[in-house]
């Protein structure tokens, strides 16, 4: 048992193994994302009942919440990858860390933007400085910081480790985002989904939301796997297995051209 885990762990360190493992994942995840997001969005926008206080403006929730949740998950993944990189020096961890940044950053920006759009009718202002909005803005800055830090280093190895340190330090922000609404009295809504309680919304409102959240995770997975595979090819360009792969695909490209 233990040795099996150890073997898997070793394999995980090998970008090549990951590349071969995920051959089809992009397609599967992409299709799942398409189905879930379409289903959830159509249901949420067209069929879910309007909110008794906010009318139809609440429907932006179907974008806002999935974006906000995935933005944080992406960051958690980045932080964990940072730990793995520093402790086990696993190359794949850095590849994952790097791959998660653009999507996470986009989702953070999307959550901020949709929040601001939603804030106008409900809070009467585009932007209010409370704990959650602020910590979410901090998350955006963290993503900026990760990108800027990486490009500031000339040596990839050092860049990876520096980013890992920053990513780990940044993890502190996640519980702040999560619990800010409970620790401080803020304007922002508290959680809808918890593991222990039933949501206060009617199912016809929260089920589409759930679908969209799942769909957003699948979309994240699609981007993540795609970028990781690309990065692996780029980094292992010189190795035999990549050369062989490219040699297989190159002639077929030439044939279609």
């Amino acid at each position: 048992m233990w040795s099996a885990i150890k073997r898997l762990w070793h394999k995980l360190g090998s970008p090549r193994w990951f590349f071969q493992l995920t051959e089809r994942w992009e397609l599967v995840l992409g299709l799942a994302a398409l189905v879930l997001l379409t289903w959830g969005t159509v249901w949420g926008l067209a069929f879910a009942p309007p909110d008794y206080q906010q009318g139809n403006s609440f429907r932006i929730i179907y974008l806002h919440v999935p974006a906000a949740i995935v933005a944080q998950s992406a960051y958690m993944l980045i932080g964990v990858a940072g730990v793995v990189l520093l402790v086990w020096r696993m190359k794949l961890a850095d590849i994952a860390l790097k791959a998660a940044i653009p999507f996470g950053m986009t989702m953070t920006a999307l959550a901020l933007a949709t929040g601001a759009i939603w804030g106008k009718p409900t809070w009467g202002a585009w932007w209010v400085w409370d704990a959650r909005t602020t910590s979410m803005l901090v998350l955006l800055f963290l993503y900026f910081g990760l990108i800027a830090l990486r490009q500031a280093f000339t040596q990839p190895e050092q860049a990876a480790r520096a980013c890992a340190v920053l990513a780990i330090v940044g993890l502190i922000n996640i519980p702040i985002i999560k619990y800010s609404v409970e620790w401080w009295l803020t304007l922002h809504q508290t959680s809808t989904f918890t593991l222990t309680e039933k949501p206060a919304m009617p199912p016809s409102m929260y089920l589409p939301l759930l679908l969209n959240v799942l769909g957003m995770y699948c979309l994240f997975g699609t981007f993540m796997v795609g970028r990781m595979r690309l990065e692996i090819l780029r980094r292992e360009e010189q190795t035999r297995w990549v050369q062989e792969r490219l040699a297989i695909t190159a002639p077929s490209k030439a044939a279609t051209a």
Partner: protein, 209 residues
């Protein structure tokens, strides 16, 4: 007292995924003086830094005794005086500084209180030699220690090396100038280690008199 101060087995060193040194096996014993030679950019500095624990992009086994490292930079704080720098080194390694005495030994008795930034290039290297001499570490890793030294400075360096080797220390020294240039070292008759095209490790021993 162990005889082996450094063991490298199958050491491969690279930079940014570019291979510099492949599969080096090296054992440094007390009293050994290894000269590392090779063309510009071949990886001498990188190898020494890996040995000193300052470069971690390597694979293979590496075990070493405490070392003292002197690189391309003299590693002095330029705002502080030679004296203050030596005292700081002494505190780091936990010996007594006897700064004035050591500075006199490298010919800097008159400059011991000037900020190091106001010393000439060679004078700074001399302070660095004094700081090196102060460290009790048995293994010295030196990167082109002759740089900027005048003739008497090079003699000084040679006698430092002689003393260190005589006390049972060992030296690995990257250099572009043959150690026998000053006539105080001679190469051993053994073949040495060829690391790669043009880059080699050779063992030398003090020549007395």
């Amino acid at each position: 007292m162990t005889q082996v101060l450094l063991t490298a087995e199958g050491l491969e060193v690279s930079r940014n995924d570019r291979f510099l040194i492949g599969a080096l096996d090296l054992v440094v014993r007390r009293g050994d003086c290894w000269a590392l030679t090779g063309p510009n950019g071949s990886g001498k500095t990188t190898l020494l830094r890996a040995l000193a624990g300052l470069h971690s992009e390597y694979s293979g086994r590496l075990s070493l005794a405490p070392q003292a490292f002197l690189g391309h930079k003299p590693a002095l704080n330029l705002l502080l005086s030679p004296r203050a720098n030596l005292e700081w080194y002494a505190a780091l390694v936990g010996t007594s500084a006897r700064a004035e005495e050591r500075l006199a030994a490298v010919g800097l008795e008159s400059s011991s209180r000037v900020p190091c930034g106001q010393l000439s290039a060679g004078q700074q290297r001399r302070v660095a030699l004094a700081a090196l001499a102060l460290q009790p570490a048995p293994l010295w890793l030196l990167d082109e220690p002759h740089t900027a030294l005048d003739v008497s400075g090079q003699a000084l360096l040679d006698s430092l090396l002689h003393g260190h080797l005589a006390r049972g220390g060992a030296v690995v020294c990257a250099t572009h100038q043959p150690l026998d240039q000053t006539g105080r070292f001679q190469q051993l008759a053994e073949p040495g280690i060829d690391i790669k095209q043009g880059m080699a490790l050779r063992r030398w021993q003090p020549r007395n008199g």
